[in-house]
Amino acid sequence: MSEVVADFVVIGAGPAGMAAACEARSHGLSVVLLDEQAAIGGQIYRGVETAPSDRLEVLGKDYAVGRDLTSAFCSSGARHVGGATVWNVSTDGTVDYVTNGSSGKAVGKYVLIASGAMERPFPIRGWTLPGVMGAGAAQILLKGAGALPSGPVVLAGCGPLLYLLAWQYLRAGASIRALVDTTDRSAHLHAARYVTGALLGWRDLAKGIKLLAALRRHRVPVYSGCTDLAVEGESRVEGLSFRHGGKLVQVPASLLLLHQGVVPNTQISWSTGSAHRWNAEQLCWQPVTDVWGRLGETSLYVAGDSRAIVGAQASAVQGRLAALAIAARLGAVTDLDRRAAPLQRDFRRHTSIRPFLDSLYRPRDENRIPQDGGVLVCRCEEVTAAQIRRYVELGCQGPNQTKAFGRCGMGPCQGRFCGLTVTELIAGTRGVPPDEVGYYRIRPPIKPVTLGELTR
């Protein structure tokens, strides 16, 4: 058991965490940064320090720019503890973790939770079959290992990451059999309301147009407005069936990459007992914080995508803002408002396109709330949508009761991959808003750790 004390403990080495650590160091605070991965970068800049030049070329400028942040972090003087599994965060600033088989404690005057985002679950029939993965997962394989699909790949869903991965695959010479787009065409109309904001984020829009043009150039079959997705196969994926323009289409696939946006990874903030609210635009939970990211009256702050989805650049700015506020509390910064103002302007600029994106790429109800009762909602304990509905009929009002009745959320992922689906399923069945249904009561351990690790 080792113990380290610092002014500022950061959880997560993505943009928000690294930027916060740099900012805090620049005001003389002692900083310890814990991250589950061995190397810094988070998921967005995964492997950026060590990626060879051809991989940087394939992944594009927005990835390569991550090196600015990783090198700033490396020379900041913050202490980095890699391979650290955080299993408990107390509201007083104590963080318990396990690394290399034994436990450690980092005691911070303040703690920043910067645990980032995860891909939104895509609960459709057959989504548990080997060969079905998240598009973000495949991108991590490309960033971390340079791995590309061996044969033609099928991409399905919606959201910027899906098109970005397609573009990166084409640049790397990988072959795409089909892109099955689930974007709701009526969403284009809704999204038009946010065009002013989108124009402020014209750079992001221009990127999107460039990606689509690349797909056309490579003659990738793009099916748009698809519904009724179902994965085919018995013991592994064999294909994807869907409805397109009123017709049932089937495409063969041995590798199917699904994606419908990312959602905040809120496991840590929930575990601290903090209040959360349902974000109806982004269709996910987000912790309730003050403007600087502080959770209630605790020593804990949240920044970046784990607070609400804002993207990499805005996450870094938000991390800096949280670090500034903490430095001010510790007396290391006296002119907080003056220093924060330009960062706040940056934040607004980086997030101006968000309402447009959230509206345009709003995942379809049918891909979040399975109507097909046979769809597995809880992958770990293999609980179906029909079972959850049955527990609601028996009187269960929320996810903790359905969990008690049918073990949904009791497996090793601890509810991470079924939680949103269960909340929305119960809300739909009861006919009440998600806020009234609530979420799992997340308790330590935040991630599974062995009993032996807790004794060493």
Binding site: G83, M118, G144, A145, A147
Partner: protein
């Protein structure tokens, strides 16, 4: 179950390799990548079978949240292979159903 790999790692990307052992078979893989990446590129299609329905599963998220890539590594069952970097001589076994403390203890621990 090894078969044609879903992913491949072009040789240009490889600097140094290590050898890992999956269910008794040697696999030469690039150093520095995760066990999950190594197995996917090495032709392992399913990593384990589920406890409840004995259904085959393989990695889904590659970032430590879905727990589908659980596998026995160096005698310790149910490790998240997407979070563990490969190491030369590492012994890996696919997991059939629930983790088995007894055989894990008698297993390949160095």
């Amino acid at each position: 179950m090894t078969t044609e790999a879903l992913f491949s790692i072009p040789h240009t990307a490889v600097v140094k390799t290590v050898t890992i052992i999956i269910d008794g078979k040697s696999l030469t893989v690039p150093d520095g990548i995760s066990v999950a990446a190594a197995l996917l590129a090495g032709g392992v299609r399913d990593f384990r079978s589920t406890v409840v329905g004995k259904a085959p599963r393989a990695p889904y998220c590659m970032m430590g949240v879905c727990f589908e890539c659980l596998i026995e590594i160096d005698g310790v069952p149910a490790r998240q292979s997407c979070l563990v970097p490969v190491r030369d001589g590492m012994r890996i076994r696919r997991q059939d159903g629930a983790a088995d403390l007894v055989t894990a203890n008698l297993g390949d621990v160095a």
